[in-house]
């Protein structure tokens, strides 16, 4: 997937179709993903997995109550062989997440026979469950498969592994963040506006929040601090400047100081166009961060309440 979308920070950006593979160029759609904790779902202290997040339950359009009942039945009757997340246990029970019985199931039609009757000769006992209970387990199993295959439903794990003190030192030192920002000024309250993962994306590559087109929490008042400006130098040496609308090799458009729309044809770099992007510093700085710098900074910025 391409990250040409200018508005993807603080958001999870995925291809427009949730089921589309990551590998192709296509439109991105960006959605907020709430940070669900997985242990709340599985109720066990096991390692984090991608299975059956609340987001997956919603997106799969299964009945949440049935899924919830099914999860308990599965834990009690099936997990000992198929694993808590139905991915299978070698030598005991097969992976059900990738089982065609689950993937192809509709309304329990495919799943009911093996669950009701078992396969006693192959190590799968009769479940003894009622028809209604089987339908609940089937709903829960379908969510497992859905969740595995749909990235939009994944849950971010612990993003706050950094050292806030080191992040603060970097903010005021090597990062020179304090030359443009203040923790008690423009960045005040930052930590309460985003999840840690969103915040990490947000500060790495902000997309601007003030003025026209700004996106984010409390829209700032006054002129946007992230607006690109442009100076167009015509063949006769005259210059026209203003806020950039768009530019390519053949055309540049802007709004001048009076607010008027101006459009110029370009031909092999003439007229000359000089764009100033207040956010370019953020892109340029990407090459300077270590992952530790990044995690420390995020840990610091979440403290700005």
């Amino acid at each position: 997937m391409q990250t040409t979308s200018p508005t993807n920070n603080g958001f999870l950006c995925v291809p427009l179709r949730a089921s589309a593979p990551l590998r192709e160029i296509r439109l991105l759609s960006c959605v907020f993903i709430a940070a669900f904790t997985l242990t709340a779902q599985t109720g066990s202290g096991e390692k984090a997995t991608i299975s059956a997040t609340p987001a997956a339950v919603t997106a799969s359009k299964e009945d949440p109550a049935a899924v919830d009942r099914g999860s308990k039945i599965f834990a009690g009757h099936c997990a000992s062989c198929h694993g808590a997340t139905a991915k299978g246990i070698t030598g005991k029970g097969v992976d059900l997440v990738r089982s065609l019985y689950v993937l192809d199931d509709e309304k329990g039609i495919l799943l009911t026979p093996p669950i009701r009757d078992g396969r006693p000769d192959k190590g799968m006992p009769k479940s003894g469950l009622t028809d209604a209970e089987i339908l609940d387990v089937a709903a829960w199993l379908r969510v497992q498969s859905y969740g595995a295959g749909h990235r939009t439903t994944y849950t971010f794990l612990d993003v706050l592994t950094g050292d806030a003190k080191k992040g603060e030192a970097y903010f005021n030192g090597a990062g020179k963040c304090n030359t443009c920002h203040s923790p008690t000024g423009d960045l005040k309250g930052l930590g309460s506006r985003y999840t840690p993962q969103q915040l990490q994306g947000r500060w790495l590559s902000p997309t601007g929040r003030g003025g026209a087109g700004g996106r984010g929490a409390a829209a700032a008042t006054g002129p946007s601090r992230s607006q690109k400006t442009v100076v167009v130098t015509l063949a006769n040496g005259q210059t026209v400047s203003g806020t950039l609308d768009r530019v390519d090799d053949f055309n540049v458009t802007l709004h001048d100081a009076s607010g008027a729309f101006r459009s110029f044809t370009r031909d092999n770099g003439i007229p000359k166009v000089a764009v100033t992007d207040p956010l370019k510093i953020h892109i340029d700085m990407l090459r300077t961060y270590t992952d530790a710098d990044m995690h420390n900074m995020t840990a610091y910025l979440v403290t700005l309440k």
Binding site: Q2, T3, R23, I25, D104, H150, L157, G201, F250, N268
Partner: protein, 536 residues
């Protein structure tokens, strides 16, 4: 071929078709035509087997390209499946008729006007519709994959379905978007999809019946070579390595050069330690048997979704003054590779982007050594480039007259998050989240050294884009909504035209009625260009 006679026949065929009679003269696509396509055809995905997308035509050339003008534009509407039309397929041209696809839809249109001759509309289904990359054409038959995992064979004369066969189970979330490629008596069918750790494969089917001739897995099974690069057979069998972009073919060596996709689980590598053969590789396959004759893995143990499915381009070139049979690939992982195509011997690997941060350098075989510190992590690792890669599936081009290889690159950053830390992860196992872009460029690479001879930085956006070169000393590509002609030796812009959308397919060129045409698709429309005042 005698062009006059040919265009007469094509014109006659078009007249016959307009009154709905199958032209008796249509011989369709022959083996000979695929081996030596004439200038008035574009019979396969890349136009010819070399994959280089270079045309010997020069009526449109660097001195007159300024007169290149629109002849027609035509828009196509989808059938009952309702999938919005997005033409990613090159429009094949045979006997003056264009054949192209969009998911769930295929068309034949008159190359002289763009008017639809027939429309094949696939019924509504729940398959993945992110793309369809076109028809394969052999004899009088067209071959097309459908979103729900089938291959259909259509009569080129009227678009009527001849047969339909199952390639994959759509519920397993394979994507079936690839353009079938015809080699000899084989229809080579590839698949995509890395949602649920499905086995990757390439299948050869019989052109007449659709019966499987052979099927080759792209990852090894028990006892097969390469299994030692996996912790266990289970991991290898669920590792994808898909085959969603066609390869090139050397008839003298009888080898089909195919790039394979990334391993699964995509961003959670803990259950697949090792190099993970034959994912992210270039495979040389015997098209008669399906046997992998040699391989070269461009990205060992990928964790960033960098398929190696980009064009594998054959170059008959010189290395150190000696003639060599080569293949070259500009890879999604940011490196440019040149190999000896007779045996897979590595010749060079060079970076296309500066400052890539995901590996620890190259090993003796020119393979990047992945840096475990830059695997996707629960708290995120900042990686350049992003998962869309330095480049992507859009076709590159090689111009034998400039000796330069042209490719579009994007300079995006991502934070890669691992979301599945289980011992047995499944699916993607992680996501990457965009962290900004330094923009995109068009690169002209000298294949002998891997050095960038010139580049053009786009003022905004840009990245992977289709390329076409011609003997008219022209390089065509797209940026924004523009189709653009460059001087291929120095990157000077010579011509452009604004379209109603972003060029979305590989542009093609051919002779029609004695004049050279340039055809490009953008979204739901095709655009045909020719010189205002053709040189007589």
């Amino acid at each position: 071929m005698n062009k006059q006679a040919f265009s007469y026949a094509a014109a006659a065929a078009a007249i016959l078709l307009s009154v709905n009679v199958t032209p008796a003269s249509a011989q369709g696509v022959t083996k000979e035509m695929l081996l030596h396509p004439s200038s008035d055809t574009w019979p396969s995905f890349f136009g010819d087997y070399s994959g280089r997308r270079f045309s010997a035509l020069k009526e449109i050339n660097s001195t007159n390209v300024g007169n290149l003008s629109l002849e027609w534009a035509a828009r196509y509407t989808p059938g009952p499946a309702g999938t919005a039309v997005n033409i990613k397929s090159p429009a094949l041209l045979v006997n003056g008729i264009l054949y192209f696809t969009s998911p769930n839809n295929g068309w034949a249109a008159d190359a002289r006007t763009g008017r639809e001759i027939w429309h094949y509309a696939y019924p509504p289904n729940t398959g993945n519709t992110n793309g369809n990359r076109g028809f394969g054409y052999y004899g009088n038959w067209l071959y097309m994959e459908t979103p729900d995992g089938n291959l259909v064979c259509l009569n080129a004369a009227d678009g009527k379905e001849r047969w339909k066969i199952r390639i994959t189970d759509p519920k397993l979330d394979y994507t079936t978007t690839a353009a079938p490629i015809v080699v000899g008596n084989h229809i080579l069918v590839g698949v995509g999809g890395d949602h649920l750790d499905n086995p990757g494969f390439i299948e050869s089917v019989d052109p007449e019946t659709g019966a499987t001739q052979w099927k080759t897995n792209t990852t090894p099974r028990k006892g097969e070579p390469g299994i030692e690069t996996w912790p266990d057979e289970y991991a290898a069998a669920h590792a994808t390595g898909q085959t969603w972009i066609p390869g090139s073919y050397d008839p003298d060596l009888n080898l089909y050069y195919l790039g394979t996709g990334n391993p699964n689980p995509v961003m959670a590598e803990q259950s697949r330690k090792g190099d993970n053969l034959f994912t992210c590789s270039i495979l040389a396959i015997n098209p008669d048997t399906g046997k992998i004759v040699w391989y070269y893995q461009a990205t060992p143990h990928d964790t960033h979704d960098w398929d190696s499915t980009e064009s594998v381009i054959m170059i008959d070139g010189q290395i150190d003054g000696k003639p060599r049979k080569l293949v070259a690939q500009a890879n999604r992982n940011g490196y440019f590779y040149v190999l000896d195509r007779t045996n897979g011997e590595h010749i060079l690997t060079t970076p296309m982007l500066e400052g890539m941060n995901w590996n620890l350098g190259l090993n003796a075989k020119g393979q990047p050594i992945p840096d475990p510190a830059k695997y996707p992590k629960p708290d995120g690792s900042l990686v350049f480039p992003n998962s869309g890669g330095a480049t992507n599936w859009a076709s590159a081009s090689f111009d034998p007259e400039t000796d330069l290889f042209y490719v579009g690159v994007a300079k995006g950053w991502s934070v890669y998050y691992q979301t599945d830390t289980d011992d047995h992860p499944e699916g993607y196992g992680g996501v990457d989240s965009g962290a900004g872009s330094e923009g995109g460029s068009l690169l002209a690479i000298d294949y002998r050294t891997g050095k960038i001879t010139w580049k053009h930085d786009w003022p905004a956006g840009g990245g992977a884009a289709h390329m076409l070169t011609t003997a008219g000393h022209l390089l065509f590509t797209g940026n924004g909504n523009n189709i653009i002609a460059f001087d291929p030796s120095n990157g000077k812009i010579l011509w452009h035209s604004g379209l109603m959308g972003t060029p979305s397919n590989g542009m093609t060129t051919y002779m029609l009625d004695g004049r050279q045409h340039l055809l490009v698709g953008a979204g739901d429309s095709l655009y045909s260009f020719a010189l205002n005042h053709p040189v007589k």
